[in-house]
């Protein structure tokens, strides 16, 4: 069926381009018609999907072309890095169900962002079966090897060999299938894939074993099954990393309310947000988000701009000020004249930029780069061995040594080098609170020389907090503010609860928007009023009774983290949209000397690019939607897990705790991981040189191979496990 679709679309070239067989078509997800799609001005529908099962660049090429060739499809792009497809089509001509059906028929599983994806069950089953067979074959091989010492009757030896053949057959023919198909696809594309030498070794081992069993000679079945099991385990570790990467997809549409209250004469009507047009007047009340960008036409209110600017402190806006979509109205009420709607709004444009930036290209691993050389050298060595022994007139040894060379040259350890070390490195960083989407992100840390830190929510707590107040003032204020939802109120009540102050009862509480709160506590009248920036004043009849200073506090461990980053030779820079004096105070507290204040979101991104142009490798850590462009532009973007979901979307890594310390651990893990990969690769190449030489001169028999080959893999496992040890030892 897939072949028919491909042919009908005139895309036979896919068969030349593809590197791997496409997976079997999966069951189609029912109910595609119910999927929420975005309808644009020109009547086209748009949606973004995740495609599971994309395994190579040619899969992407094929899917894009099939979709683009479908009548009614205006635009179809697929990203290999994220597995995401964005579609734009004319709903009059074609529906989403048909498009999803086309993709599913090719063998890829389309699903909505945020829907669960399933790991490759086939790989798990293959690994399980291979491990089962390997352990059983090893026991029988041990009996056979011991049989060399104390003579074993031939009928017992034959039984063990036939039983081993029985177990090794499914391993070679079915479990190792991914390596065969990878090698074949590589050959079709005239690329020597890492799978080729592996497939070659498995094939030689199996055919040799089959013939040896028939004639009653020694076999390499134990090496074969062990090899396949180890390589499958490595492949599964790699797959887990990539799958997680695609999961962080978040839709920003959630930040916009679905409906708005539109003024009609003296009345209001509730309309879908997308029906709003420029010039409409909408009412917005406390706790609501703005459905569109506009200008305040009436009223006064406090709004929280955290999503856009990243700053926690609410601001008061009044007639003539701009209201931005996606920000929250904290208290008060406004009538807003709509200026921009839908895709044109600030938040949607930022979201579009982020989505575009999230689709990044993939890189080739070092193992894949050296694979062609590896294969060539192995084949040359095998040929030379056979020729050498034949010239010496020993045809029996020629065959045995040639097989031994192909067997021991299997790049098992080399193929495991990166996935094992990367898994250990990612795990070590994750346990310390920094989670990376892929090993590449982690390894990029090694080359980073500049660290850009966002202020609010990254170096600081990101929430409005009480930074100075005496207990009695706080007690009265908390009593007044107890039931208010204002951020200042929550900070005051939170601090009082933290200090264990019992909250007094307040009576006759009146709240005035943008001004303050008043009421009776302990039989006296009190007023809590705004008093200068970051300060509220508590007053009674006699006058001022106390002040509470509020602000965004620097995290307790930020200065330690900054000092450790600087000690690693990194240039730490603080970037903020805030004023110079506030930024300077925070920077001094955190121990950062290099400060850029009054920087807007685009300014942060251009700072990153300027640093990169002057040859720097930049890490940027931030938390808000406003940090998105900088996170995407940076070589390594690290988002705070407590921040806006959208920043997580474009970042390479996420800090899961409210601290900057994981960043330091990340740098340690990265350098330990890179050292381990280099160590692994050097050792496995050295192993191959020694083993191939030994095999060429006829020193390797099945027992030697059975010891050498797992030993080389164990060496790689050990090399990778040192990452965690070196981090605990603090050497990194």
């Amino acid at each position: 069926m897939a072949a028919a679709i491909i042919r009908d679309a005139g895309l036979e070239r896919y068969y030349e381009y593809r590197e791997e067989y496409a997976p079997r078509p999966g069951p189609l997800r029912p109910g595609w018609d119910a999927v929420p799609v975005t309808v644009c001005d020109d009547g086209c529908a748009e949606v973004r999907l995740v495609l599971d099962g994309l395994r190579c660049a040619s899969c992407v090429w094929l899917t894009e072309h099939i979709l683009q060739a479908t009548p009614g499809v205006e635009e179809a792009t697929v990203s290999y890095a994220t597995g995401r497809a964005s579609l734009r089509w004319d709903p009059e001509t074609v529906d989403l169900g048909t498009l999803a059906g086309k993709v599913a028929a090719l063998g890829y599983r389309p699903r909505l962002l945020g829907e669960e994806s399933k790991p490759d069950q086939g790989l798990v089953i293959r690994l399980g079966v291979a491990t089962f067979a390997a352990l059983n074959i090893m026991m029988m091989s041990a009996a056979l090897y011991l049989g060399w010492v104390s003579a074993m009757e031939e009928r017992y030896a034959a039984l063990f060999r036939w039983a081993s053949l029985l177990l090794a057959t499914p391993v070679a023919l079915w479990c190792a299938e991914p390596f065969f198909s990878g090698a074949i696809q590589g050959l079709r594309n005239r690329v020597l894939h890492m799978d080729l030498p592996i497939a070659l070794a498995v094939a030689v081992l199996y055919v040799h074993g089959l013939v040896s069993t028939l004639v009653g000679a020694d076999t390499y079945f134990d090496s074969l099954s062990m090899l396949v099991a180890l390589l499958l385990a490595g492949r599964m570790l790699e797959g887990r990393g990539r799958r997680r990467a695609a999961e962080a997809a978040v839709s920003l549409a959630a930040a916009l309310p679905p409906t708005a209250r539109r003024r009609v004469g003296d009345s209001v009507e509730v309309v879908p947000a997308e029906d709003l047009v420029q010039g409409d007047l909408i009412d917005v009340g406390a706790g609501e988000e703005f459905a569109a960008d506009g200008v305040v036409a009436d009223g006064e209110a406090t709004v929280r701009l955290a999503l856009i600017t990243g700053e926690a402190e609410p601001v008061v806006i009044a007639v003539g000020d701009e209201a931005v979509s996606g920000t929250v109205l904290v208290d008060g009420a406004l009538t807003v004249r709509v200026e921009r709607v839908g895709e044109e709004t600030t938040i949607q444009r930022m979201a579009a930029d982020l989505r575009a930036a999230a689709d990044r290209p993939v890189r080739l691993s070092m193992a894949d780069r050296i694979a062609p050389w590896f294969t060539a050298v192995t084949l040359v060595a095998a040929t030379l061995t056979a020729t050498g022994w034949l010239l010496a007139g020993e045809s029996g040894t020629a065959l045995r040594s040639c097989v031994a060379v192909l067997v021991v040259a299997c790049p098992c350890a080399l193929a495991l080098s990166k996935p094992l070390a990367a898994a250990a490195g990612l795990g070590a960083a994750a346990r310390r609170g920094l989670m990376f989407r892929s090993a590449d992100g982690l390894l990029d840390l090694v080359d980073v020389d500049t660290v850009g830190l966002d202020k609010t929510g990254t170096v600081t707590e990101g929430d409005l907090m009480v930074v100075g107040a005496d207990d009695s003032t706080l007690r009265i204020a908390a009593g007044l503010e107890r039931f208010s939802m204002h951020p200042i109120a929550r900070a005051i009540v939170g601090e009082a609860v933290e200090r264990g102050i019992p909250l007094p009862r307040a009576e006759g509480v009146r709240e005035t928007i943008g001004r303050g709160i008043a009421g009776r506590v302990d039989g006296a009248d009190w007023e809590l009023l705004a008093g200068g920036p970051g300060e509220v004043v508590l007053r009674n009849r006699e006058g001022e009774a106390g002040r509470i200073r509020l602000g965004d506090a620097v995290r307790s461990d930020s200065s330690e983290a900054v000092a450790q980053l600087a000690a690693r030779g990194l240039d730490v820079v603080l970037l903020t949209g805030d004023h110079k004096d506030v930024a300077g105070r925070i920077a001094a507290e955190a121990g950062v000397t290099n400060v850029w204040a009054d920087v807007d979101p685009a300014g942060k991104a251009s700072w990153v690019r300027a640093r990169q142009e002057s040859g720097g490798q930049v890490l940027f850590a931030g938390d808000g939607l406003n940090d998105g462009p900088a996170l995407a532009a940076a070589d390594v973007g690290v988002a705070m897990g407590t921040g806006a979901a959208s920043s997580v979307l474009v970042a390479d890594g996420v800090i899961s705790t409210r601290s900057l310390k994981p960043l330091v651990s990340g740098f340690q893990a990265a350098s330990a991981c890179q050292r381990a990969i280099r160590w692994n690769q050097r050792r496995s190449i050295a192993y191959n040189i020694v083993a191939v030489s030994a095999a060429a001169v006829g020193l390797v028999n099945p027992l030697v191979a059975a010891i050498l080959m797992p030993a080389s893999s164990a060496m790689v496992v050990w090399g990778s496990s040192r990452i965690e040890a070196s981090m605990n030892g603090g050497r990194a």
């Binding site: 399933k118 790991p119 069950q121 798990v124 089953i125 399980g128 079966v129 089962f132 059983n136 009757e153 017992y156 039984l159 039983a163 029985l166 177990l167």
Partner: protein, 44 residues
């Protein structure tokens, strides 16, 4: 020692049964998600 001629096949058949059970468990999704379940009980 002749007992090995029927004990070995029995051992392989038993092993095969367990391998088949493993395959069934994997198909049923037993190993689909190894990360969340241990943490899920903490979210309640």
């Amino acid at each position: 020692m002749n007992s090995i001629f029927f004990l070995l096949p029995i051992a392989l058949i038993l092993g095969g049964i367990f391998a088949a059970l493993f395959v069934k468990a994997a198909r049923d999704g037993q190993f689909d998600d190894l990360d969340d379940p241990p943490e899920r009980m903490l979210h309640d």
